[in-house]
């Protein structure tokens, strides 16, 4: 199938730090790709690089989106992409909304920035969007300020703004991490149904393996700036190949088993990774051997399943 987004060897550096160290992945139209990994491994940086919202970073590689290279577009062209063709929502909806502008107006503004419509129509469409994202009493809520709304409600507003122009790709960066679990369930349900109904593709960034298990069609696992494994969701959970993925899945406390045993752990912490020359997971890996001093390529280990590990090739 033709790809909606094709990221090719993306490198993002902040000075000497390579926060994203040569990653490649693709997203097909309508697909939800989960991008998982622990904090600091470069997930947000990847998304912000695609949106060209990073300051003081050097970008290398390519990100072909619907026939253009996002990394090569000038700011004017990028502004037409942002919000209209690719939208983004963040972990903390409270801080992404302007505190002094009513939320309905903020959604209407997104519409007017990209579509040539009068203010009254923008307002009417904002109301419609509020209904669509399940905001109760939407007429009143249009006039509310962010601080008058709960975190879950603010995230609904953010989603309304994000889908306002019918983007083909949504970058959702930890969209439910700041929310309580019952509200998280509501928001995940909403994202799932919007993606299904609109055919919008989603890159769902999260550290929570449970969240991707429910929502993603495919999953890419990041460790220290690199993708170490990617597969369709079922395969990844049933047959993880990379020692890091296996470690991560093992370390998740389960609701219904293993209560009386110690949780399996991954020794050490991610801080050791930046010093590693070859495989960045080697300092924490039980299987590391001589070959791991070289960087392992991301190679097929099964149907639609890739991993970057010398041991599992």
């Amino acid at each position: 199938m033709t790809q909606l987004l094709e990221v090719d060897d993306l490198v993002v550096s902040f000075g000497a730090l390579r926060a994203v160290d040569g990653i490649s992945f693709a997203v097909t139209p309508g697909e939800t790709l989960g991008l998982v990994g622990e904090s600091g491994c470069g997930k947000s940086t990847t998304a912000l690089a695609l949106m060209r919202l990073l300051q003081g970073a050097t970008l290398r590689g390519a990100a072909r989106f619907a026939g253009r290279d996002l990394l090569a577009l000038d700011e004017a062209a990028m502004r037409r992409v942002r919000g209209a063709e690719i939208a983004m929502i963040f972990q903390d909806p409270g801080t992404s909304l302007h505190p002094l502008i009513p939320v309905g107006e903020q959604v209407a503004e997104v519409l007017r920035a990209h579509l040539d419509i009068p203010a009254t129509e923008a307002r009417a469409r904002a109301l419609e969007l509020f209904r669509k994202v399940g905001i109760a009493a939407p007429e009143q809520r249009l006039r509310a300020y962010p601080h008058e709304l709960s975190g879950g409600m603010c995230q609904r507003v953010m989603i309304a703004a994000a889908i306002a122009c019918g983007p083909r790709l949504l970058l959702a960066d930890e969209p439910t991490t700041a929310l309580d679990v019952t509200v998280q369930a509501q928001i995940l349900d909403l994202l799932r149904s919007i993606a299904r109904d609109s055919g919008m593709a989603v890159i769902l960034i999260t550290h929570d393996l449970g969240v991707v298990a429910g929502l993603a069609d495919r999953v890419a696992v990041m460790y220290a700036g690199r993708i170490v494994e990617a597969a369709d969701t079922r395969t990844l959970f049933a047959n993880p190949a990379h020692p890091y993925t296996r470690g991560l899945l093992g370390a998740v406390p389960q609701l219904d088993r293993g209560w009386d045993e110690d949780l399996p752990t991954i020794a050490g912490s991610v801080e050791t990774a930046l010093a590693a020359k070859g495989c960045r997971f080697a300092p924490r890996c039980n299987f590391a051997y001589a070959a791991c001093a070289e960087r392992p390529p991301l190679e097929a280990v099964g149907e639609g399943h890739v991993a970057a590990c010398w041991k599992v090739r």
Binding site: G210, A251, P253, L255
Partner: protein
Amino acid sequence: MSPPLVEAVGLARHYRVEGRLLRALDGVDVAIARGETLGLVGESGSGKSTLGRTLVGLQAPSRGTVRFDGIDTQTITGASLRQLRRRRQLVFQDPSGALNPRMTIGATLTEHLRVQGWDRAAARAHVPDVLRQAGLSSEYAARYPHEISGGQRQRAVIARAISTDPDFLVADEPVSALDVSTRAQIINLLRALQRVRGLGMLFISHDLSVVAHACRNVAVMYLGRIVELAPREALFAAPMHPYTAALLSAVPRADPARERARDRIILPGETPDPSAPPPGCRFHPRCPLATDVCKRDDPPVRALGRGHVSACHHAERVPQLAAGGSR
């Protein structure tokens, strides 16, 4: 029978917020035995931290009593009060905020012991041992908080809490700020400490699966009340409060087949303002089982056998609701 290590009776804690009375704790009864770990779950604002702080004496109750070893803590003074401080300790959620950035880990530990009445030399000598028990080598005494990882900082905070050899520990979201791989290490550490030292522990978390691994009994809070309390097996297999059932069904599980097959109990709306809780059962506006009696009468806490208590008029109907939501 000896009294429980820690016991709260009719505990209430009120705050004044913009002239209104906010009942953060609104009548909580709870008992924790020596060697028992009680998990406390509930969504943000339900009163978990307030309960934790009140049980370790960092806050006075507005009403009700906290007993430690059978003695009303409000009546304790002087040297016994210092003893009591030593015996109950708190581990905070955010390991960075809990440590003074300008002090080495060793200095922080020494300082903590000094406040509890140790002399400086003895306190210093005790530091390596305490670090080791928290899984840190003695070199960490010389490090500053920013020089070590989040997991190591949380170990340092735990080291501080156990340094006075307490009998009771409140761990308030001790792993919430940590990544998956570090979280597992800290859960294991707390379990081991609890087991080896026979600590009584209140383990606060918004994450039910974390609590399942750390605690034998679990209490669920909603708007300042404990609405259900039971051994974890019973609570997870057959919850007797609809709020617990909804929480369980909302927890995302790292299992795609199951995630996709399940029918969640999606609660309408969000937790109401705690300064104006709904009348009757405070859960009724969001409850899938609510009837007229729920709108009218505050449900009493009922003992349902085998250590299972629930504050729901329709507790007996919950297992059926839960069976649909957790598949």
